[in-house]
């Protein structure tokens, strides 16, 4: 991120969207903004991601779609989901969404994870996996409402998008942002990105030629918001964009049960253990009969 105000852009010629960084206020929380309305499906972000993370070439799959593979993979964090959506009037809309970790404010993966220090959430909002501490149980896979963490069966560790925490820590933008040629991807503080997204959504709604009355910003509050924001043509139907959940939820087993589990175990184990101990103290052993006669008076 450039810190010199002299490099902040005021306006751009021929730019399809709003100007990034206008009126920016620097804060702690960062966010990535994906404006799907300006994505052209070039997959530059996919390549940049593979390149920066030093992942080897992996086989792609073909399923009558332009999509590189079905889902993100343990060594393919970033995937554009292509969806050919049939409109009511018979027209076709090609919806493209860059899919990656959403870096939730309330991360389901982190809640589900039983391994100490395997998943960390930074104050800037990045949720990062620390594979050294990962035990390979894959609870995070079931904890994630976006189906993002992926298991590597060879190393028995789980991997996902890091939001380029290694780059962001050095004041750089994530690799995907740097590669995007259309201005579809933006990076900055959460407040800035939110403001930018809302501006863009309003622009889409109020367009004089092709107004999109349902255009809106995807920042699901059911998980406290995310640090990846989407501007969608139709915010009422996020499922169209490669199965983006309208109301992402973390399973109750990872919220309620997680907090009940420890006291439940202590209570159950101690009840029984103390129970038998005091049973011995109070009533003593049950001996085969006839036992040797008692010499003292019982108290």
């Amino acid at each position: 991120m450039a810190t010199l105000r002299t490099l902040e852009i005021k306006s751009i010629s021929g730019h399809p969207g709003t100007v990034p960084g206008r009126g920016a206020v620097r804060g702690l929380e960062i966010a990535k903004l994906v404006d799907v309305t300006t994505c052209i499906g070039c997959k530059a972000c996919e390549v940049a991601c593979v390149e920066w993370n030093d992942h080897p070439f992996r086989e792609t799959s073909f399923d009558n779609s332009y999509q590189t593979m079905a889902t993100t993979e343990w060594n393919y964090y970033n995937l554009i989901k292509f969806n050919e959506h049939q409109l009511e009037d018979g027209g076709l809309k090609w919806l493209m969404r860059k899919d990656q970790c959403m870096h939730c404010e309330d991360p389901g993966c982190l809640r589900a994870c039983p391994a100490d220090g395997a998943i960390v959430q930074y104050t800037n909002g990045i949720v990062d996996f620390n594979q050294d501490n990962c035990i390979g149980c894959q609870y995070c896979v079931s904890g994630c409402p976006f189906d993002i963490p992926k298991f590597n069966p060879t190393t028995k560790k789980v991997y996902k998008c890091t939001l380029c925490s290694d780059r962001v820590g050095q004041g750089l933008e994530p690799a995907c942002i740097k590669a995007c040629p259309t201005g579809c991807l933006h990076f900055g503080t959460k407040d800035d990105m939110k403001a930018l997204a809302e501006t863009r959504a309003a622009q889409l709604r109020n367009d004089s030629l092709f107004p999109l009355p349902n255009a809106g910003v995807y920042d699901p509050q059911s998980i406290g918001g995310t640090h990846v924001l989407y501007v969608l043509h139709d915010i009422t139907r996020p499922e169209l964009y490669g199965g983006l959940p309208a109301n992402p939820q973390i399973a109750l087993s990872y919220t309620i049960w997680k907090y009940l589990a420890k006291p439940a175990m202590l209570v159950i184990a101690l009840l029984s253990l103390l129970g038998v101990f005091f049973h011995y103290i109070f009533t003593g052993p049950k001996l085969p009969q006839p036992e040797p006669p008692a010499r003292e008076e019982e108290l």
């Binding site: 039983p114 035990i135 149980c137 896979v141 990872y254 006839p290």
Partner: protein, 271 residues
């Protein structure tokens, strides 16, 4: 069905009896043959391995220190399902082995109604209808059967999440924990009653034998079944023998004491 299971069990007991053997001394009864003991300790060892490794995963906040026992967190996670599988397999054979003895009967329901007396130790002798296993043992047996069924199914869901899906893992995780906790609750009672709580019980799973007095005290109907004798009568006879022995011993002691007194007095008379 039942007959083929019985045939299998008999063959297994025979084969294991060739490898190991159980010596029954006078005054003792065979309770658990080698096969049963082998299954019991295989299940017991795998239970504790699964318990310790499981606790480390269940609540690392408290039990992270257990992971080095198994070679670190990742290794603990890798081994835990295998320990669990070992337990389930061992207990499956124990299930076949004990099925006929574990059938719930009316007398077990009666035993459960008298549970309060059992816990308080009101009666020195168990009721006469208590057979090879009492109601409590049967209850624990069936709890383990149902519990390990749940542990197996949910465990497989968590072992292979890619086959069973996210929801199965999220639900299975809770059921797995609860089943394990119920078994954890039961295990202390089992260990307590089979060792210090009821002395003479542990040797039934080590040497395989119990004393006759143990049998008529804790499992009178089984005593009747194996020896063909009346447990209450034999107990009464033992009580009488004990009283008789005490009488004889006291008589002998008083004889000896008076003899000693006389011999002390003897020399003083002479001098």
């Amino acid at each position: 069905m039942t007959t083929s299971v019985e045939r299998f069990d008999e063959k297994a007991r025979r084969e294991f009896g060739k490898v190991g053997h159980t010596t029954v001394h006078e005054g003792e009864l065979l309770r658990h043959p080698v096969y049963t003991r082998f299954l019991h300790w295989t299940a017991a060892i795998s239970f504790f391995l699964a318990l310790l490794s499981g606790l480390a995963i269940y609540s690392p906040w408290m039990f992270n220190w257990l992971t080095p026992l198994f070679g670190g967190g990742a290794m603990t996670r890798l081994l835990h399902p295998w320990f669990g599988l070992m337990f389930v397999i061992a207990y499956f054979f124990q299930f076949l082995n004990w099925l006929s003895r574990m059938i719930w009967t009316g007398s077990d329901s009666e035993w459960m109604r008298q549970l309060k007396d059992y816990v308080k130790g009101t009666h020195k002798l168990e009721p006469e209808y208590v057979g090879f296993f009492n109601g409590g043992q049967k209850l624990q047996f069936w709890e383990i059967i149902i519990g390990s069924g749940i542990l197996l199914i949910t465990g497989l869901c968590m072992w292979f999440p890619e086959l069973f899906g996210r929801l199965a893992v999220a639900i299975g995780y809770v059921l797995h924990d609860i089943s394990a906790l119920i078994m954890l609750f039961g295990i202390w009672i089992h260990i307590y009653l089979s060792t210090v709580g009821q002395p003479g019980t542990l040797q039934s799973m080590t040497r395989g034998v119990v004393t006759r007095s143990w049998a008529w005290t804790h499992h009178p109907a089984w005593y009747r079944e194996t020896t063909g004798r009346d447990p209450r009568e034999d107990h009464q006879r033992a009580v009488e023998r004990q009283t008789e022995r005490r009488r004889v011993a006291e008589a002998w002691r008083s004889d000896r004491d008076s003899a000693a007194r006389e011999s002390e007095r003897g020399p003083t008379d002479k001098s």
